[in-house]
């Protein structure tokens, strides 16, 4: 740990402000709580919201895992992990089961989470209605009145143009039967993992200065039409490395002739399965 910094980089007053906002977010599932987002030593879009939530929650005994698109070894994940081991001196891990805090971008781990774990999402745009309604005052009113017919206009457009609901990530959900919420740009494959999850889910949008939460065991419903129900992505392939047939697969181009392979996007899950298979 570098002693020039306060523990976990942020000063204590800022962390207190964040914790108060987080408590409010947990008390009103899915409601976007404004907070005083700080300048962080990384650019907007790299996870400034998530990193502030993580900083506010970290204790000296916590074990941090950071994933980016499911992988522990991408630039963003490595940097954020290294950042916190420098400014907080905490232990980090790549194993989902060992972590107490998991900061994530674009995925939820395949391994089921537990009650003593917290998942922290980096969110670029917390407002699910934004592409349909640019005025903030209007979207706040729509949330206040739970007037969410507009969201179905987007799903209608999808079916009209593509024959099915083509929205495949950042798929809108209704939290606790009340607030329309963006699940952050996770694939809709991960949406069912949000529903009644034992782990607390926190969402931080640094640029937009909003926090929100899905408390443990809260119902999360993916929107759909009666005759076009919510459906998960499927693959005709299995993971080329671990053989998993039920995880989220990335398609990777492996040579200049268009050859492809499909591999698990969750690197920890994939390597865990391979170790198990060898044993």
């Amino acid at each position: 740990m570098t002693p020039r910094y306060n523990f976990a980089f942020l000063d204590e007053d800022t962390k207190r402000m964040l914790r108060r906002a987080l408590l409010k977010a947990v008390a009103i599932p899915g409601y976007q709580v404004p907070f005083g987002s700080r300048e962080m030593p990384l650019p907007y879009g790299w996870g400034t919201g998530g990193i502030q939530v993580t900083a506010a929650l970290l204790g000296p005994d916590d074990v941090l895992k950071v994933i980016d698109q499911g992988a522990d070894d991408t630039t963003n994940a490595v940097n954020i992990r290294r950042f916190f081991s420098r400014v907080a001196g905490i232990a980090t891990t790549e194993h989902t089961t060992d972590a107490t805090l998991i900061q994530t971008r674009h995925r939820i781990p395949e391994t089921s989470l537990r009650e003593d774990q917290i998942l922290i999402f980096q969110v670029p745009e917390p407002e699910p209605l934004r592409t349909l309604e640019p005025r903030e005052a209007e979207t706040r009113t729509l949330h206040a009145l739970a007037d969410y017919g507009l969201m179905h206009v987007k799903l209608y457009e999808d079916i009209a143009q593509y024959g099915h609901i083509a929205t495949s990530y950042d798929y809108p959900v209704l939290v606790d039967g009340r607030f329309l919420t963006s699940p952050s740009p996770i694939p809709k494959f991960d949406n069912p993992k949000l529903d009644r999850s034992p782990a607390l889910m926190l969402f931080g949008a640094g640029r937009e200065k909003r926090l929100y939460a899905i408390p443990p065991y809260t119902s999360v419903e993916s929107l759909a039409f009666d005759d076009h129900p919510f459906e998960l992505q499927r693959w005709d392939h299995q993971c080329a490395l671990c053989g998993s047939g039920d995880s989220y697969l990335d398609e990777v181009v492996v040579d200049d002739h268009g050859a492809r392979m499909f591999v698990c996007s969750d690197t920890d899950y994939c390597s865990g399965r391979r170790v198990e298979a060898q044993a």
Binding site: L132, T141, D147, G149, V153, Y156, E157, I159, A160, D227
Partner: protein, 256 residues
């Protein structure tokens, strides 16, 4: 028969300037009322005040709901106002681009109000949208086209379909045919007259065009400088105007 809408001594001031002053009228179910007058006479201000889109300075507007209960619009909460606008009213703007959602298809525009009412069955939404496009004489094969690819007259008809699809009881129209050429105007007026009759709508329509009033409205209100100068049966007003301003309006219509 009991009225649907009661407007009493309604005034709306923009600071020291008068928008409309001391206006009273009743609107009955199935009745189409025209508000005529020159530009700046307070027609649109009155319409927006009655439709609860602007807050009046004085006076009251009462509306009788489907369940027979009278609502005082001045004391309505934002939630109730939006519910009324969604479930019982419709508003057709002069410029269809203000009333349409331009970045989604024609079908989605028609279906939006149905979805706002909680309809969640895609095939039914689509069938209803197609049916309404036909009713306003838009080729239903254009259901997935963007409204920006429509002509001005088609856009206005699309806006009418989008407004009427939820079968409102009361529709407010702000110069729906202004800015369209005469033949397109005639078609839209014809369409409006037919739909208003078929659906038994009550409507308040603002227009500066006396021919529109003659064609559609049973009763007409003439406004000048924010005040009502004459009110009565349309034919009576147009054939035997009493007030000097109405006489001027009627005599300035070009006749061939």
């Amino acid at each position: 028969m009991s009225a649907l809408l009661q407007v009493r001594n309604l005034s709306l001031h923009y600071g020291p300037r008068v928008g409309c002053q001391d206006v009273s009228f009743d609107l009955h179910p199935g009745e189409l009322l025209c508000i005529v007058g020159e530009s700046g006479s307070g027609k649109s201000t009155l319409l927006n005040a009655v439709a609860a889109q602007l807050t009046p300075t004085a006076g009251s507007v009462r509306y009788r709901q489907r369940d027979g209960e009278w609502l005082e619009l001045g004391t309505l909460s934002e939630a109730d106002r939006r519910r009324l606008a969604r479930e019982e009213w419709g508003f057709v703007t002069q410029n269809p681009r203000d009333g349409l959602r331009l970045n989604v298809s024609a079908g989605a525009n028609v279906a939006e109000r149905l979805m706002a009412l909680g309809m969640r069955h895609y095939s039914q939404l689509r069938a209803t949208a197609r049916h309404w496009l036909e009713r306003v004489e838009i080729d239903p094969t254009r259901i997935d086209d963007a409204p920006t690819s429509f002509s001005g007259g088609m856009q206005q008809r699309l806006q009418i379909a989008r407004t009427l699809v939820t079968q409102p009881r009361l529709v407010f129209m702000d110069e729906p045919t202004a800015g369209l050429d005469v033949s397109v105007q005639a078609r839209i007026l014809d369409l409006l007259r037919r739909l208003v009759n078929e659906l038994g709508l009550a409507a308040v329509m603002v227009t500066h065009d006396l021919a529109v009033a003659r064609l559609l409205a049973a009763r007409t209100i003439v406004m000048q400088g924010g005040r009502v100068v004459e009110t009565g049966l349309t034919d009576q007003i147009l054939d035997d105007p009493q007030h000097p301003y109405t006489q001027l309006l009627v005599s300035s219509v070009l006749t061939t």
